[in-house]
Symmetry: C2
């Protein structure tokens, strides 16, 4: 095998069903497909090779897209002094309850507590204020890929809710609001290439309500993905901070007219939570399904009855070489049966399986089986490379299509609270008219047993004459509500 895989022990398949018991199914999927594991640190997980390779690919492709719009990567410290974190009032209020605090270095008590970064605005902007002097220094488009910690007290879920997670945080600075928002939109387009084209994840995009926006932002816009348990998970995001942080951290620049002005800022992120969303959305009761473009090994080749027929193994090796760009695994283990191998690679989500036995050898053909729909086709050797390419492409497209069908099926609309609650109980995401009010959102959460506002779609249906489903008064906007992580 071109990459090492542990092969000794018999691997049990998934016993829980995705549609019957999502939580149990998801946990089994992650553990049995060897994507991740729990650790002795509560809420913190380990990323095993397949999951990590996928994350690295996502980073690589995001960097490519970011490079096209002028973004540069940097690295800032893990620790943020408490006084610095506290400079922007809303920001510290939003994050302080979840900060992991370092109080000692060795046996020495530190003069000031250090926050393990929950996000890096505070430390980055302090330096931005030192570096930025003139319009010539703008735009400044710095991104970092790092680990952050938010000490949540909710029940942790592998990938989806962990205390440490990894992400990119892009913190950009501009000389005008217009320029900031224009670049922010470009970033979201770049992210869409990653989530849609690579991860095959559709979503609904829109603006958060004031209650749910990022602590310190003027507005937050986010992508939301629908999980099969009816919960939405937040995806990529765009926070427009206006001059809020610039004022708190004193980021000023001289305009062309030599006037001093506070700068305008955006932040954006994509995190490892997205991996969880992707595994959950595409996989099935037999195990992992991942989009071919992200699969570290896109093919597994399984020779059949090759113990007595050396030509079979020889042919399998030839095929492996021909298809090397797909980083194929060749499973030539003798101690387990082909059936065992099929089962194992299905569980681990290799997109295409190629079987080759003595009969196929005679006929100059192989059998190709797709992981997502179990379609089995016989392919003549001379067509192999082309067919593999087209099957991978088709699989990639169909995963997105299927996920989008699931999403669309579960989007709904309601103009009354009772109807909304009914639909939420049916695991739907419901577009409702609502007033812009934190109190109303609190009542909404109570009445729906946990649903929150998700986002206000950019293209709003007519709101005039529509009544807020909580207050009965004229609503301010249409907003999606639903359960979420």
């Amino acid at each position: 095998m071109s990459k090492k895989e542990n092969t000794g022990k018999l691997q049990e398949g998934l016993t829980a069903k995705k549609l019957e018991n999502f939580s149990e199914w998801f946990q089994q999927l992650i553990l049995k497909a060897s994507l991740a594991d729990y650790t002795p640190v509560s809420g913190c997980m380990v990323f095993k090779p397949t999951a990590w390779a996928i994350w690295e690919k996502i980073k690589e492709e995001t960097d490519k897209e970011f490079g096209k719009i002028g973004v540069q990567n940097v690295y800032f410290p893990l620790f943020i002094p408490e006084s610095l974190l506290s400079k922007e009032a809303e920001h510290v209020e939003g994050f302080a309850p979840e900060v992991a605090w370092v109080t000692h270095g060795g046996n020495t008590k530190l003069g000031e507590r250090l926050a393990v970064r929950p996000t890096s605005e505070a430390i980055m902007y302090d330096l931005y204020s030192k570096w930025i002097r003139s319009w010539r220094d703008l735009p400044l488009l710095y991104n970092q890929w790092n680990n952050v910690v938010r000490w949540e007290f909710k029940h942790p879920v592998l990938f989806l809710r962990t205390r440490e997670f990894l992400w990119n945080e892009l913190h950009s600075v501009f000389s005008s609001e217009k320029e900031a928002i224009k670049h922010g939109e470009k970033v979201m387009k770049a992210y869409n290439k990653i989530t849609e084209d690579l991860m095959a994840l559709p979503g609904i995009y829109g603006r958060k309500t004031d209650k749910e926006k990022f602590a310190g932002a003027i507005f937050s816009e986010k992508m939301h993905h629908y999980l099969p348990n009816g919960k939405m998970i937040e995806g990529t995001c765009f926070h427009y901070d206006g001059q809020n942080f610039a004022k708190a951290y004193n980021i000023k620049f001289k305009t062309k007219k030599e006037k001093e002005e506070y700068a305008y800022q955006n932040t954006h992120a994509i995190s490892t939570r997205m991996l969880g969303a992707m595994f959950a959305i595409h996989s099935d009761d037999k195990g992992l399904i991942i989009p071919p473009k992200l699969a570290p090994n896109k093919i597994v080749i399984i020779p059949i009855r090759f113990e007595k027929n050396k030509d079979v193994l020889k042919k399998a090796k030839e095929i492996s070489k021909i298809l090397s760009r797909y980083n194929p695994l060749l499973d030539e283990r003798l101690e387990v049966t082909p059936g065992y191998k099929f089962h194992e690679w299905e569980l681990k989500g290799i997109p295409l399986k190629i079987e080759i036995g003595p009969n196929d050898l005679k006929k100059n053909q192989v059998v190709v089986v797709r992981r997502d729909n179990h379609k089995k086709i016989t392919v003549k050797d001379k067509n192999l490379r082309k067919k593999i390419e087209s099957e991978l492409e088709e699989m990639q497209k169909e995963l997105l299509k299927k996920a989008d069908e699931l999403l669309q099926k579960n989007l709904s609309k309601a103009e009354g609270l009772q109807d909304a609650v009914k639909k939420i109980n049916q695991k739907k995401v419901v577009l409702v008219p609502l007033k812009n009010s934190k109190d109303i959102e609190d009542i909404l959460k109570e009445k729906t047993k946990g649903a929150k506002t998700l986002c206000r779609p950019i293209n709003q249906p007519k709101i005039k004459g529509k009544k807020c489903i909580i207050s009965g008064k004229q609503a301010d906007y249409w907003v999606y509500i639903g359960k979420s992580y």
Copy 2:
């Protein structure tokens, strides 16, 4: 310019001299060449785009080499519970005095303190013991790229001594000592490709004394690089742990004969300190010099008198396109003079400068200037691509050669303490006969005002009859001693 550079303010050159005041020169170099900056967190720095791009390239190339020898990337948590860190006695003793401790999550005091990882043996091996059952699970070759924290109380130095740094840590597990050591040697060969072929850094390699070896290892071998201030800095490393950690963390496997045995382990690392070594070794009084293979932009194109001659700028753009694989910068700023530009790009270490003016245009030529030796050559357009390639190759080679000459010039040998001290005061690294004893090394440090043992070269000169320079008794080995970071 293809990549954004801040251009507004006049940039002062280096005022300190490398050979006169290394510390001041090095700090100015790092800050003025925009490689890094200090932060409000003592001992923690920010990596700016050029330095970070170089580190990313080093990661990428290391991953390629690691892939060839079966290593896979993973990610383990940042935090390690105190009880877990304490399982291997020598290990915890070595690291505990420098651990940054997390004691609170939000307002809640944690039940157990969490160490911010100073290194990840404890958390990784705890999971290894769960995952490894049989010889079939071995070798297990897991690597991670991450950030670690060691709360040192010595004066911090940008890149060279920081409390947070980034590195890879490869923790591999084998079923025999022989296999472990064989793989460890392969890893060191892979690292050599990075340090020698890419970073152009020569070094001396050898085994650490028992006093200086890694806390918990059977033996440690390290590469050491000579800095122009006479101090050595440790580079890539190979710790062979034998079964020490396997016993502490209970990592057992069933052999082919169904016998239970403790596993054998190696660890290896390369860190961002190496960037500091590289900047320090190659750069000069005019600013940064970096090996062309690692330069994010290998060329800067400076058009001359192009304000009144549009063809000059046109030609400069053509050249930029032709040389796009070298990611050239085209400096078409009008507000600063060519002289200012030369100075700035020299300071920032772009390997090749291409000047083109109206005269060159007429003659179908450009002027190429090398950053390292200031060699200026006129190149006909038709030869440009070939000449650029050969100049970059030559520069890469010469940087290694020059660094090696510096190293060799400063290696020395001494058989008496007085001679050794004299040579150390001349900033040399001295090979001396010594007894294997912690006490003797303590005396050595005192007598030499701070020199330590560095490493015992693998190829040892004859030791029989040679007397330990401290005790006067028969020495156990030849060992390099010198000042170090």
